[in-house]
């Protein structure tokens, strides 16, 4: 039972991170029809900037603000200088250019912070544990879940209740029409890109105390994020949320329960060998099944 609760919470924690990443990626894709492989680099930069600022100032709150502001600025600069030119080009060009950007980002980080991993402490206030369902759980991990929920609510309010959100929805539906109605669509694109970049940076900072911050750390999460937005339905925020929760749950549960289940069927050596192998494949198998039956994803954008 205690393992079960802990695993559920862990899966929510991974889901929260995946949502922070996929919300930005899917918004950018939905509106600009643009896939940014360098999205994981923003995640990495968020972690590095946050770790550095936290070490210099000793304040985690300032680190959060710094990480978000830095990644948003970086996002705006990249969008204004290079990425904007790629919106009208075909997907192959987008993928290759952002891949080149990703290589540059990794090396820039290696140049500035050095090749060895950077570590950052969990903030003192969240160092302990919290009791949930009669079960001790690390307070910091719980805080990530809370942060995820706050972002979900914030995005929901932004998109469904504000003028900017209305424009974003309209832009996703028909960008040309929105532009013809006198909205500065280029500015809107930049705002959306910066929003996504800031969320990725926040995600990177939040995970930084739990992992080693190093060049290339954004790539594994980028791949998971791609799975999330494909499963959820490309361009849909709602899909990103459910997709993140589903992928978080399956990835976490598979690693633990596959092992336990297989150990009961096979002998120890076999179970230990194939358990992780199957667990690591499970989300991709899920993705294949989803695509086979619903190529548009589980929660596609509704038009009209």
């Amino acid at each position: 039972m205690s393992l079960f609760v802990a695993q559920i919470l862990n899966s929510f924690q991974l889901g929260a991170l995946l949502f922070l990443m996929s919300a930005g990626l899917t918004l950018v894709f939905g509106i600009m029809n643009f896939l940014n492989l360098a999205h994981g680099s923003l995640f990495m930069v968020g972690a590095y900037v946050g770790a550095t600022v936290a070490a210099k100032t000793g304040s985690f709150t300032i680190a959060i603000i710094a990480a978000i502001v830095a990644t948003m600025l970086l996002g705006v600069v990249a969008e204004r200088t290079l990425l904007r030119q790629l919106y009208a080009r075909d997907h192959l060009d987008q993928v290759l250019c952002t891949f080149g950007l990703l290589l540059i980002a990794n090396e820039a980080v290696r140049y500035i912070w050095g090749p060895s991993p950077v570590f950052i402490n969990v903030p003192a206030m969240l160092d302990g544990t919290v009791r949930i369902f009669g079960q001790n759980y690390p307070a910091y991990r719980f805080a990530i879940i809370v942060a995820g929920i706050v972002v979900v609510l914030g995005l929901y309010l932004l998109i469904s209740r504000t003028r900017l959100g209305m424009l974003i929805r309209a832009g996703a539906n028909n960008a040309n029409m929105v532009s013809a109605l006198g909205v500065n669509i280029k500015f809107l694109n930049t705002v959306v890109f910066a929003l996504g970049a800031g969320l990725a940076g926040l995600g990177g900072l939040l995970i930084a105390p739990l992992v080693s911050v190093q060049p290339g750390m954004g790539e594994p999460i980028l791949i998971l994020t791609l799975v999330v937005i494909v499963v959820g339905g490309i361009g849909s925020i709602r899909g990103a949320l459910y997709g993140a929760l589903i992928v978080g749950l399956i990835d976490t549960a598979a690693r633990v329960y596959m092992q336990i289940g297989l150990l009961q069927i096979f002998e120890r050596s076999v179970g230990q060998a194939i358990g992780p192998a199957i667990a690591s494949m499970l989300i991709y198998i899920l993705m294949a099944i989803v695509l086979a039956f619903r190529p548009q994803g589980l929660f596609p954008v509704k038009h009209g």
């Binding site: 029809n33 290759l96 891949f99 540059i104 140049y111 490309i234 992780p276 494949m281």
Partner: protein, 329 residues
């Protein structure tokens, strides 16, 4: 008349590159530099994979960002069977092709119905699946991979002799080029190219495009399996790094760099790209040592910038450029 000259120019370039490949072992032996033979073996292996990828990418419009998976399967076919004491190369190759065929058919059945961005993302995700699978295989070295005890025994071909291995790779590349050159003008090739430009029309004409595209995908994947098998024999190593998505992206870059609408382009792309990689990673500057060191250490960033410039400016690639310029003088 002008068109003929361009075609001749292209043939000349292709012929010169093939001559270069053919002559490398001779030069290598005469100058006693075994390094060149290993380097050009590697170039030809990647050229082989890039030509295979171009069959579906350039001619079929299927941008696979996951072909490194099949290179990995080929390499692990040699590596895993070697670990279990099976040194017969033909058996290793057969096993690798069998597994590769299963993977390619299953993955292909899911992906060839998809278009554009989804296709790219899904092929990438499936390749990563293979990568993580290989990482979890602790028996075969996990993340680090595993050294292969000896080159595969091919009976009539003695792979332990680097010259024989070199010309085996050369022969594979030539055979593939010849086959691709023929197939793209055949009924099969035309059906693939047709479904790239207008799939709905092809369906209306009665072509089962799904089957054609799937077949092309599987063939392209299987050639990459062969490339992976040869790569494992060259390096005597099988590791998950062969299936990193970096490798898949590099293959696409080779195709674009050389010219994705040409049969021979990817070979030139692989040659230029890998020589550039070699040059950058060993870069040194006599007059500006600090600059040389910087480039040497962070050569991947220079490569990244190079990729961006190529994509933004030279869309038709080096080899494609020759023809393009001639056609509109």
């Amino acid at each position: 008349m002008a068109k003929l000259e361009i075609r001749e120019l292209k043939t000349w370039i292709a012929g010169l590159v093939i001559l270069l490949f053919a002559a490398v072992p001779i030069v290598s032996i005469l100058t006693d530099q075994a390094f060149y033979m290993a380097q050009y073996s590697r170039i030809m292996i990647y050229a082989l994979a890039a030509v295979a990828l171009n069959l579906i990418l350039g001619f079929g419009g299927m941008v696979s960002l996951g072909h490194a998976l099949y290179i990995g399967i080929g390499a692990y076919g040699a590596g895993m069977l070697d670990f279990h004491g099976v040194t017969n190369g033909w058996l290793q190759l057969l096993a690798a092709l069998g597994v590769g065929g299963l993977f390619a058919t299953a993955i292909g059945a899911v992906v060839v119905r998809l278009k554009g961005m989804t296709f790219i993302m899904i092929t990438l995700a499936f390749a990563q699946m293979g990568y993580f699978l290989a990482v979890t295989l602790r028996t075969y070295g996990g993340e680090d991979g595993r050294a292969i005890s000896a080159r595969s025994q091919m009976y009539l071909l003695d792979f332990s002799n680097p010259v024989v291995l070199y010309y085996a790779i050369f022969a594979c590349l030539m055979a593939t080029l010849w086959w691709v050159d023929r197939v793209i003008t055949s009924r099969f090739g035309m059906a693939i190219r047709g479904s790239k430009s207008n799939e709905r029309r092809m369906l209306a004409l009665g072509f089962p495009t799904f089957r054609y595209k799937l077949a092309a995908y599987v063939i392209s994947a299987q050639i990459c399996v062969v490339a992976g098998f040869l790569l494992a024999n060259l390096t005597l190593y099988a590791s998950p790094s062969y299936m990193q998505w970096m490798v898949s992206a590099e293959l696409i870059i080779m195709v674009i760099l050389g010219g994705m609408f040409t049969v021979f382009g990817p070979v030139i792309g692989a040659l230029v790209f890998l020589l550039l990689e070699e040059w950058l990673s060993n870069f040194h500057s006599a007059s500006f040592p600090a600059f040389g060191e910087l480039v040497n250490e962070h050569w991947l960033a220079v490569l990244g910038a190079f990729v961006i410039v190529v994509v933004l400016t030279a869309r038709n690639g080096v080899y494609g450029y020759v023809g393009k310029r001639g056609r509109t003088p």
